[in-house]
Symmetry: C2
Subunit: 414 residues, 2 copies
């Protein structure tokens, strides 16, 4: 079962907007067993839209369009669809009511232009948009399904999740594809593949597929199988239960969990508090932790001790140790963690000191060298990382994730 | 002059990778007067690639391809191009030498697979890749130019910038398009448009175009004109000189400058130091400042005073003021800045306290309420922002930028 995606809008072609919609739709369709054959981004032009529709419909049985449904005159998708499906726009009374209520709630005057959004093609099935003004539309022609959606990602995702995907599953009797994601940190894809070679071979016997999805510092493992007999989900679960013996130390979470969420949940469950003392990560660990809603329950705060004077004056790091061992050293990073923990009256402290680059590296401590320390009441552990990146942003980002992961591991051992 | 972009790779269609390449290429081509007509993302499949090439070449005079040039067997772009252009792969001795040196520098063994990357189509002009192993290729057929590039953004951008764009400008005698970007902060697009209505009309007399490019908290203004007679650049400069009178307070920078870079340069030029005291922004201001290489010259560090106890114990904020006025108040935010400035012995301090959401808002202080304070030796200023977002990440991000901008404005007044 193949699909194509057509994204409409001049802003996509002049680079003003990056098309993130088609990647999301592609991923979601693959999760229900529909494969995307092609993505085409085109101009807001009637002839261009008609040609793209005609060509896609010859190749696949599902065409999803996004964009061009706004109220301004450069948005012409709706009128063009009427032409293609040989239908006309008619006023939809329930949608008009919904729009009027929406504008009232936002205290915005309802104008003629807004009313136009309640005119919808007669022959389509409407996929209601509870998050915005432009309705989704479902058409069928020569056994091909066409879904037209607004380009705003939040609205597009909402309509497909609430209306589009359930309807697609029924209409095409899509296979029941089971997906599970296992998230690892701090191990390269090649090493994981080596550790999992026998396990991966054993999956093939059950027609279960494994995908490695790497990003800096992380590799996600996605395990997928088509459940034809109701047994595949259990086989996948059994197979996942074998992973802790093979790669347990690298697994930090499942499905959509981030390392900062996992650490936050561990802290909440054990009713512990955390603080930070950041040098090379410059506040990014605090930023990651506080991106999680509810983090005030366990995060007290931190000290960004970027200058050595702040390490000495605020965190009471011994000046002679900085002179003797350097700011990027075990001696300094462990004092940062221990003293921050006391100063911010927290159960745990994470500290970092390293060389983010691109300058500042030496032969002994090249760019990417990062010391991390975790202090708790009775224990301080420290670890050196030698990150392979000559990229400041990447070193900061990966060092922050690794520091959070070191706390996670320490937590599990306690 | 029209172009099309073809991006090749299964990972683009299943949503594993977001195609950022075509937006970048689209923007860069529009800067040299070439308009992108269509972007097509296709599978790593010979027939699919051949069809896409054939169709695009009928519509436009420039086709840029990215992806499918890796050394593994699923990458088939090079072989497919040989078929399309009726040529063959031959060993390119200088490229082979370059690859060998590259692998030697990285201490990696040079294998048969690596050697294959030195086999390149006989009929193409090679666009050397100084950042990776896969060379760029320039073909011509029936007056259409085809450029094939690796999919890695860093390598693709490098080859086009160093080799592709200069060659395109000569080959197609593209017009000399002049672009200038003016960056504003803290003003909605609609208000800017209102303030600039006469100015914008005056541009039309000179055939100069204005584009508004909004992102949360910011609007970029891009002014473009085709310089046919060598005079347009001066007219644009004269027009830009009129902007300070109209919207001067909102302009923070030009071209690619970020607010954190602008603030950093102001601090460097006046030899001043900065520290932070962050509550709702949770370390993000420190993170933004330290993303800039060289920030250690002016950034001492900061205190992330997320919990009230840290505001009281580390930053000496008066407990009775927190009880009386709340943590999100002018009284608290100004003490945070003043006391952080002393504690971290800095010339300037930025502080924030607000409600990032999605929970925690009240009628009096809804989600998006943020107090910012700037303290210097003789002066403390504070300002309240009421951000319109019900989105935690966006509130944190925009509050951080606005706080940096408040420092910038204060700096200019001193």
């Amino acid at each position: 079962m193949l699909a194509e995606i057509i994204t409409i809008g001049d802003e996509l072609l002049i680079g003003q907007t990056i098309d993130t919609n088609s990647a999301w739709i592609g991923e979601q369709l693959s999760l229900i067993g529909i494969k995307v054959h092609q993505v085409t981004s085109i101009t807001d032009n009637e002839k261009h839209i008609l040609t793209a529709l005609e060509e896609a419909s010859k190749r696949v049985s599902l065409v999803i369009l996004t964009g061009g449904l706004g109220p301004t005159k450069d948005d012409i998708t709706k009128e063009t669809l009427c032409k293609y499906f040989n239908t006309e726009l008619i006023l939809n009374a329930p949608i008009l009511e919904h729009l009027k209520e929406r504008y009232k709630a936002f205290n915005v005057t309802f104008s003629k232009v807004n009313q136009d959004q309640a005119f919808l093609p007669k022959s389509c099935t409407i996929l209601p948009n509870t998050r915005g003004s432009a309705s989704g539309m479902w058409f069928e022609k020569n056994k091909v399904v066409f879904i037209s959606l607004p380009g705003v990602p939040y609205e597009m995702k909402g309509i497909l999740t609430d209306e589009g995907f359930p309807k697609l599953k029924t209409h095409f009797s899509t296979p029941n594809v089971i997906h599970k994601t296992v998230r690892t940190i701090g191990v390269p894809e090649s090493k994981l593949a080596e550790l999992l070679v026998d396990w991966e071979n054993s999956l093939a016997n059950h027609n279960i597929k494994l995908a490695y999805l790497p990003s800096p510092g992380f590799v996600r493992l996605r395990i997928s199988g088509v459940d034809t007999n109701g047994e595949v989900e259990q086989i996948i679960i059994d197979k996942l239960n074998e992973l802790p013996h093979l790669i347990g130390g690298y697994i930090y979470g499942f499905e959509k969990e981030t390392i900062e969420q996992v650490v936050g949940n561990l802290l909440i469950n054990q009713n512990k508090t955390l603080c930070t003392a950041e040098s090379c990560t410059g506040g990014n660990i605090g930023h990651l932790i506080t991106q999680v809603s509810g983090s005030s329950a366990y995060f007290n705060g931190g000290v960004i001790s970027y200058a050595n004077a702040v390490k000495i004056n605020v965190l009471n790091v011994k000046e002679e140790d900085i002179l003797k061992f350097g700011a990027v050293s075990q001696q300094v990073v462990q004092q940062m963690a221990q003293n921050a923990r006391k100063l911010l009256k927290s159960d745990y402290a994470i500290s970092t000191s390293g060389i983010a680059g691109p300058t500042g590296g030496t032969e002994e401590k090249p760019v990417g060298t990062v010391w991390v320390s975790i202090a708790s009441e009775n224990k301080t552990i420290s670890k050196i990382y030698r990150l392979p990146y000559n990229n400041r942003e990447r070193n900061i980002s990966v060092a922050s994730s690794y520091a959070l992961n070191l706390l996670r591991k320490e937590f599990l051992e306690d």
